[in-house]
């Protein structure tokens, strides 16, 4: 039996509060390394669910994530750095006005980062989403690289390839996970709405979707702009967490990492994305051992940097070939599913609490 709507809502609110309380606790009591991983987990949740929205639900394979994240990251970095710090760190050219004088707190900076990424998403998406398949891939990858090259070559705005250092680290786990939950909430609500249905129809059959009255370009662009907004927020959180940004952070590798996570979790499942976003940073740390030099049975192994990327690439290939549905396929976590599983575990009849 499905639990009552009110019960489900109460459970959800309780879960959100639990996550936020945990984040406060973890910040104080766990060691820096663990906190860092939980931090990356939250940021990856935003990146992966935004990829699920545009690919898993709308069927538009975009490789623009890295470039869009860069827009958010640089916006936050430039807005939160103090004018004095900027004067010091801009080595190639003095910072241009208004970058030279502004300093904003984190939250409005993040919001503007998201909005500028959404604007970039609109500029990319409006023409590119008319294309399909490989052409869309190449175009979005190209746009993403254009953004990165702009960052390298606008010394007065971004300090060029040197990047920016000393960004104030104001963010904490509660912020990151709060924003991750908001992202998941909005994405889930949209996907379950009439608009989400239209997006899924576009994914299934564009011609049929058009014939039943779905305006293809406005729906695709809407999904892409919203996805870009979240990516911008995640990028902003990244720069705030790392304290530095450089164009090299936003190479396509970042996009591939997001895709690996999304495929691992199942591109049509937000729940799967949340799980995979936690597995990836942990796996990434565990795999560090294959990159470190060591003695194995008397033979010295020099450690090969970059071997982790190879491992993840192999994993992605394996997933696509043999395990395409990922951890969750298109299933989502639901309180009803959890409760019935718990009841089965304790051998109670499936009727619910009244009989037990």
């Amino acid at each position: 039996m499905k639990p009552q709507k009110k019960v489900r809502r109460a459970l959800s609110i309780a879960a959100v509060i639990a996550v936020l309380l945990f984040s406060v606790w973890a910040e104080r009591h766990m060691d820096g390394f663990q906190v860092r991983i939980i931090h990356m987990w939250g940021i990856y949740v935003i990146l992966v669910s935004s990829f699920n929205l545009i690919y898993g639900f709308t069927g538009q394979f975009s490789l623009a994530h890295a470039g869009l994240a860069a827009v958010g990251a640089y916006t936050v970095a430039l807005l939160t750095l103090s004018p004095a710090d900027k004067q010091v760190s801009f080595m190639l050219a003095p910072p241009v006005w208004p970058i030279s004088v502004v300093q904003w707190p984190l939250l409005p900076s993040l919001l503007l980062g998201g909005l500028l990424a959404a604007l970039a998403g609109f500029i990319i998406g409006a023409p590119a989403l008319r294309l399909h398949g490989d052409y869309l891939l190449i175009t979005t990858l190209g746009f993403s690289e254009i953004i990165r090259l702009l960052l390298c070559n606008l010394p007065g705005v971004t300090n060029g390839a040197m990047g920016l250092k000393g960004i104030p680290k104001d963010t904490n786990l509660t912020w990151v996970w709060g924003l991750a939950i908001i992202t998941l909430f909005i994405t889930k609500r949209l996907v379950d709405s009439s608009y989400g249905r239209a997006l899924k129809c576009i994914r299934d059959d564009e011609i049929a979707a058009e014939a039943v009255g779905v305006n293809l370009s406005s729906h695709k662009v809407m999904a892409f702009v919203l996805s870009s907004f979240f990516v911008g927020i995640a990028g902003g959180l990244m720069s705030n967490l790392l304290g530095t940004v450089a164009p090299s952070t936003f190479k396509p590798d970042l996009t591939y990492a997001v895709i690996t996570m999304a495929v691992l979790g199942g591109v049509r499942s937000l729940t799967g994305g949340v799980l995979a976003a936690g597995i990836y940073p942990v796996a990434s740390e565990l795999l560090r051992t294959i990159e470190t030099p060591r003695q194995i049975l008397g033979i010295s192994y020099p450690g090969i940097p970059g071997l982790r990327s190879l491992a993840f690439a192999a994993m992605l290939l394996f997933l696509i070939l043999f395990y395409r549905r990922g951890l969750m396929g298109s299933n989502e976590f639901s309180w009803g599913g959890i409760l019935s599983r718990v009841q089965r575990l304790f051998g109670r009849p499936k009727m619910g609490g009244e009989q037990g």
Partner: protein, 253 residues
């Protein structure tokens, strides 16, 4: 009032004239057949009326509005719905979602309203759900609402496609070979289904059919295409005895 008024419709692909100077008028509640041998341009006519092709020449008027050259979704919003010759259901979605999407074109709430459940979005969604259930029940698909569309038997898939088209609340319904690939019994059932749709919804229907005999029984009027030209128009009995039509179908001797 004319629901559909097509004047001088012509479609050229490079040097090939797929349809030339096609004229047709449909009045409310009419069921008209568009027949012709393979490759005679029937589907091209549909693609022009529904906005998938931009006609080289001519004009398409639906409910006194010129829809020539509009996008397919705009044409649908103005009251023309179609089904495709090759079934184009949203195969991975449940039957109910396939029909619910038809109401999306009439949705007034913005994506913002939909996410935050504001300004009567929930009410609109509820209304669409009620209407979809009524529609599916009326068309005999109520038992399949939760099934994945692609898993339905073929006959039901075709009916579902008609249901989806009806959900957009059209005043004109274009059916492109609804009985394609069906046996004679299924075909007869499909034709009964079309008549039922026409009567229940007071629908104006233009029906493409490859086999002439199939539509003879149910259409009031017919137009016959051959090599893109209209070779005959009239009532089924007139068409049946038309020499040019017989030649087009059987070849001249």
């Amino acid at each position: 009032m004319n629901v559909l008024d097509v004047k001088g419709l012509t479609m050229r692909f490079g040097g090939l004239t797929a349809v030339s100077d096609f004229n047709l008028t449909l009045q409310k509640g009419e069921l008209v057949g568009l027949i012709g041998p393979n490759g005679s341009g029937k589907t091209t006519v549909f693609n022009m009326i529904t906005g998938f092709y931009k006609p080289t020449q001519g004009q398409i008027i639906v409910n006194d509005r010129d829809v020539t050259g509009l996008r397919p979704d705009q044409v649908t919003a103005l009251g023309t719905a179609r089904i495709f010759q090759n079934s184009r259901l949203f195969r991975e979605l449940p039957v109910l979602d396939n029909v619910l999407i038809g109401y999306h074109v009439r949705l007034r709430s913005s994506p913002f309203d939909a996410v935050l459940r504001l300004h009567g979005y929930a009410k609109e969604e509820k209304q669409a759900l009620d209407e979809a259930m009524t529609l599916l029940t009326g068309l005999g698909l109520a038992d399949q609402v939760d099934e994945i569309a692609g898993s339905l038997p073929y006959g039901l898939q075709r009916k579902l496609e008609v249901a989806r088209a009806l959900a957009t609340k059209p005043s004109l319904l274009l059916l492109d070979e609804p009985a394609t690939g069906m046996g004679s019994e299924e075909t007869a059932e499909m034709m009964d289904f079309i008549l039922k749709v026409r009567d229940d919804f007071d629908m104006t229907i233009l029906l493409i059919e490859h086999h002439m005999q199939v539509v003879m029984g149910i259409c009031e009027r017919m137009a016959v295409l051959n090599y893109g030209k209209t070779i005959a128009k009239g009532r089924p009995e007139e068409i049946q005895n038309n020499r040019e039509v017989i030649e087009a179908y059987l070849g001249a001797n």
